[in-house]
Symmetry: C5
């Protein structure tokens, strides 16, 4: 614990980062900046950087709006957006070059396109959110395919190995849904706070323009992404409920299959009992005792027939009792379930409350 | 991923659509409009069209209120409503001509009926919502019949095939409920925002009339539809809880049936054991050894009777033990369950807290 | 679908209704009014009547406050309350004369009692809500008795038929709870909107008195009913959670009973195996081969004893292994469960977090 | 139903109650007051008394703030607090003298202690809430002990009787949690409404002092109790989730135990089959047919050995197959589960989404 | 109960505590202060101290803001923070010296560091929250390791002992999640109330500086901790859902394993039945009756072959029926499940609602 508490002391003073300037050109790749310099230069609070430099991956994404900068910490992106520069921090262990370079390419392209009318910081935010959304959608499609494939395989055969995979996929799905939900929550938190939205017009702030609740452009931008993340979340929830109902039905199918197995087992047991009964008869006559039938010429045939008949009789009695039990339906078994239901006291009851019963299955 | 990100570039420039003019006449069927023209003409943001032209079906319906137009994207309808025109976009793969033509017929009829006093855009909204509601209700009735029929069939017989169908139906039901809920949510989101409601009076805006929180007519219109969608959602939830409780009870029935099967199995096993015991006696006397009974005249009958009696005795002991176990009730088995409960320490306890026990089953 | 959409056209022009005048006298029983007349006379929107004349029973109750009237559509009551008249609409298929006549009697009585100080419309509302509440409470008592009776029967015996009834009751309970909740929701929606509460003072409106947020009397009236409906909902939820926990425990009991059955089955199987082992010995000596014991005088007794002893030995070994398995408790089986738990690594952990363990079962 | 509706007529005119005056002395024990007098004297609405005189126990507690009095109806306490008197109504069937007298003693003592600075009505409220809280805590401790004891007993042995008790306790727990929650809700409802808080300064009102949102003392008083009730609710929820997870694990244990029983059953069955196979061999040689081995001197020993060996062989084959099946783990059975998992298509996926997998069990 | 109520009387007048002065030096270790002195000196309400001196551990953490002090009661920390002193109360039974001394060290260090610009009370709050967070994180890591280890062990083997441990861990996890949630709730409650935030600037209050909604520094401080606690809660929920889905899958695996066991059991039973059938034939010929085959030279071989063949035939019939049943998949068994599904009436249905079916598994 002491280590944990000391770990909170400001010992990690250097952050690796990439800077993109006002023109959209990458200034330095994986340069290093002192944390204290960062704070002074961009008017940040040292606490704000805690999340960015912490070594453990962050579960809860955050968008922090500060005086001259916006700090993004969503999924794989940890960036500081200013009115004239974007600083991307290297996430610990982030060697996922494809995602990163696609993001960098899009960001540079977007920042250079000054003609679009949006201020510099909005184009940066747009790129960041597009990258986040792409990552989410890519994983969503991946998981949907995994789960869909597994469920399709289950159509043919349900076995131990499939359950194991189902467990892995549903853990992964739950973790993915959680992350997507947290991203949406982070977006919505910013959308809900008017002062934050105002404060995100960094270019205007730099130019000294004062804004009063005129943040429609930014609102639309964030809302569109929030809706799309919501769609991802929704899709994930759909998959989850699919998995859930599949599990429930699989359990019922296994149960029903077990009953079928038991039914066959019973048939076999009954058959064995019948055979045993026949064997008992045979055994009795196999005793070294005088049954006075020893010399009867047709004794053997008669008793063979008798013991076989006895075996069949016993089995037949057993099968009849089995048949009575095995048929299973929601309605009561044959013995007049209908009547029994009719015996339930059915006192007078206000009509409006009875009405829905006419649906046939309320 | 790169493909996904490039897919976001504005490459799809043309949209197929149908235009209905101020008089309610269809101007062009399945004409094509450039996205950029659309944006300029109707003062839209390119981002707003993203949802409409995206190829994947949208899960989350949206109602976007813009300066001179309202964009609907609900279920099968993607439309742009203006003060003097309605533009219907063809949904990708939308060949459902019946639903579409019914909608078009209703829309034209409604738009031509100027006498109703409602402004043009409200009549268009009314038609759109009626079509959405009809689609939802039609599917709701369809699913209710499917599920109701299946549950009715289950009254007679519960088997593997029915579970499979139950799974399909409950997946479908969950997906339907989700869609209906999202439609209601979209309606409620509009209803909650006064500025949006005001902005939807497009005719007044076109005529330059300024409105200040006098959107009663529109509110009533949307509220009525919201209530009806809520009814659909509610019905879907009812069906779902029905399916849920049926599943639970079916599991209990299967469990109970399994116990009954096991009970019969036990009876058979006990019978077999009894027969085996008899056979053992017979087998002993079948040994090639001298039991000194070989010549006793009644030895055979006596021993046959003895081994049968032994078989019955063993079976009877078994059946008695089975009977003790098989009877199952919530109350403890015979061995004085009542007494045992009485042994539970029952300290003094404030009366009001004890009161509900008199109900007999709290 | 077309039919559905045409069904929305205003083809049903006539409504059957009963009118009660200012003095509380019934004017016309089951008279018929044209919908258009109704709208004009009471300044209603045609849409408002949709719910009242729709043939399908409504799930979602509504209280609509209009300019000169209040429209109630709750459970069995569809009424239009004005400042000087009450119009009761016949619900489709409503032949529940007892509930209806009790309501009419109470309403007339209440409307005639002018001395109470409440305005006309409040007395009408009071009667309506009393009738709704009575219907809810009557059904609640009915369902509680049904379910309570069933659960009491389950104390003695759990069987297939009881599960079937439980399913019916829990479906019914869920549907009832849903309805009660929706009634409460409808009441609360009115209570939350100050303008609606103000608008319900119809007599004052008729007399031209202007009210500004002085709707205490009405608020108390509605609040009392809302609280009572809440009590009904709460009771229904209690019953539901009771049914739920009973189901869970019944499943455990069935499981436990199944284990007991299996245990007995095993005993029988072991017995059978023992007998079989003895029979094998006997069978071996029954072979037509010379075992050189044929003539030993005590051979029969000795071998009978030996094979019986062998049978018992085999059974005893089996029973011992069964005993090891059958005892089941939360703590690990005998083999030093306590020790094993002690082997779990138990690192140092902050005290406050450990504190609750002293409860003995955290 | 008619009876129910008539039961609502004001036929119960007399209430039994105890009055405590300004000095804290009990004026009359179990006196009777007419309801109409009560209403007139204390400016109450007849509806307010409905809850207090209703014979059925109330589930939903209420705190009603009226012009000159506060009506408490929480658990066992039904009281009317005024600025200079407290009227305690006898609850129907309330013979719980210990709780009642403890409450009365505390109330008298508290009301006499004028020096505390709090106004008369606050000291009364304090006593009422202390009594309510004590009752809740007493029952909470009682239930916790019951449940804790039961769960501790389950450590040793899980049986039918314990399930039955668990059902009773969890019903009781659910009902208790519900009651505690409703008490907290009633407190919070009062806390949320500023006008109610102001109106509760009865002494100030009597003295004509006007208060404007200066109800800090009362707020702190109620808040403290609300927090403590929350603690009780929280504790109850903890116990509930404990019971819930115990039930789930018990089900798993029963399932696992059943598998163990089945495994032993299989062993026995296999043994029986082996013995049967040996017996078949013996039986074949026991046929009255000439096997040409009859006279071989070692035939008996050889065949005994052979049939025993055959029995063991059959059993050994069976046991091997059983062993393959019986070992059960989350990972796939021996046949290279790891490989199979490796066969799952694992396309490229963005890193940040893969990160959590390194935890080893995501 | 009376004892409980008397226990509420102010009998516990002395509290043990540690005081840290303005310079960050510890003044007295475990000194004792009278409660009444405390109240007078720091302008506290006696009720505020109830929570701090109560002997039972508190579940619900609280942060109370009073006139000249802030009272913290979170997990292991019960402290009174003033503008120039911090009083730490000894928690009952708190002998966790490591956590305590680490906290004290951090607190002293923090309070001495005046240069940081934060007022005295904020540095104290920071230390308290850091200690709380460290305790939460330490336990979270500890539980995560416990549960993760157990789940990893379950990969290999699922048994009774593991379920028992799972139960203990999930109880502990639930209790931990609950505590973390309550801490977050306590922080959020303070954050939501502007007046509380203002009142926490104790130094400014002491210096007479008036603050009006300028509590950004404090807000950021609390928000950062709230976010971090949220992360802990989120992690705990992840673990919980992991455990949950593992339990569900384990149940399915046990079910599936049971079916496999039953399948093998059936095979054995069938084998036994076949052997029994063969033995019956042998037994018949073992009867002391004349079958006229006694002297046939090849009779023995022929009948041995016949009875073995009969045994195999019976077993083969049984195995075929077993095979039909045992294969279990979501799709219906071989008998043309596809056809059966095609028989389901599939009426016309609006396209948009059918669209999602193309996913292959909706």
């Amino acid at each position: 614990l002491e280590k944990v508490m000391q770990g909170r002391q400001p010992t990690d003073l250097v952050l690796r980062c990439t800077v993109i300037d006002r023109e959209g050109n990458v200034q330095g790749i994986s340069g290093q900046i002192k944390k204290s310099d960062l704070c002074v230069e961009h008017k940040l609070n040292p606490r704000d950087l805690r999340k960015i430099d912490s070594r453990v991956p962050n579960l809860v994404p955050t968008i922090l709006v500060r005086k001259e900068a916006i700090l993004f910490n969503i999924l794989h992106i940890r960036a500081l957006v200013k009115a004239d520069a974007v600083i991307l921090f290297d996430t610990y262990g982030s060697n996922d070059s494809r995602l990163h370079s696609a993001f960098l390419y899009h960001l540079e392209h977007n920042l250079k396109a000054r003609g679009s009318g949006s201020p510099y910081e909005f184009r940066a935010i747009d790129s960041i959110l597009v990258s986040v959304l792409s990552a989410l959608e890519a994983e969503m499609v991946f998981i949907r395919n995994l789960v869909g494939g597994l469920l399709a395989e289950m159509e043919d055969d349900i076995n131990h190995d499939k359950f194991k995979r189902l467990l892995h996929y549903s853990r992964r799905l739950a973790s993915f849904k959680n992350r997507a939900k947290l991203v949406q929550q982070a977006l919505d938190e910013v959308l809900e706070q008017d002062e934050d939205l105002n404060a995100m017009y960094l270019t205007d702030k730099m130019n000294g323009t004062v804004r009063e609740n005129e943040h429609e452009e930014l609102e639309v931008l964030l809302e569109v992404f929030s809706k799309q993340v919501e769609e991802v979340v929704n899709e994930a929830e759909n998959i989850e409920s699919n998995v859930q109902s599949t599990q429930e039905i699989v359990e019922l199918i296994l149960d029903s299959n077990r009953n079928a197995l038991l039914g066959l087992d019973l048939k076999v047991s009954i058959g064995t009992m019948g055979i045993g009964a026949g064997a008992l008869v045979a055994g009795l006559f196999g005793m070294n005792l005088t049954s006075h039938l020893e010399e009867t010429p047709w004794g053997f045939v008669a008793l063979s027939a008798f013991s076989s008949a006895f075996a069949l009789l016993v089995a037949w009695v057993g099968f009849r009792r089995l048949d009575k039990i095995r048929k299973v339906g929601l309605s009561s078994p044959r013995r007049g379930g209908g009547n029994q239901r009719a015996n339930v006291p059915r006192p007078w009851i206000p009509l409006p409350l009875r009405r829905r019963k006419t649906d046939g299955w309320s």
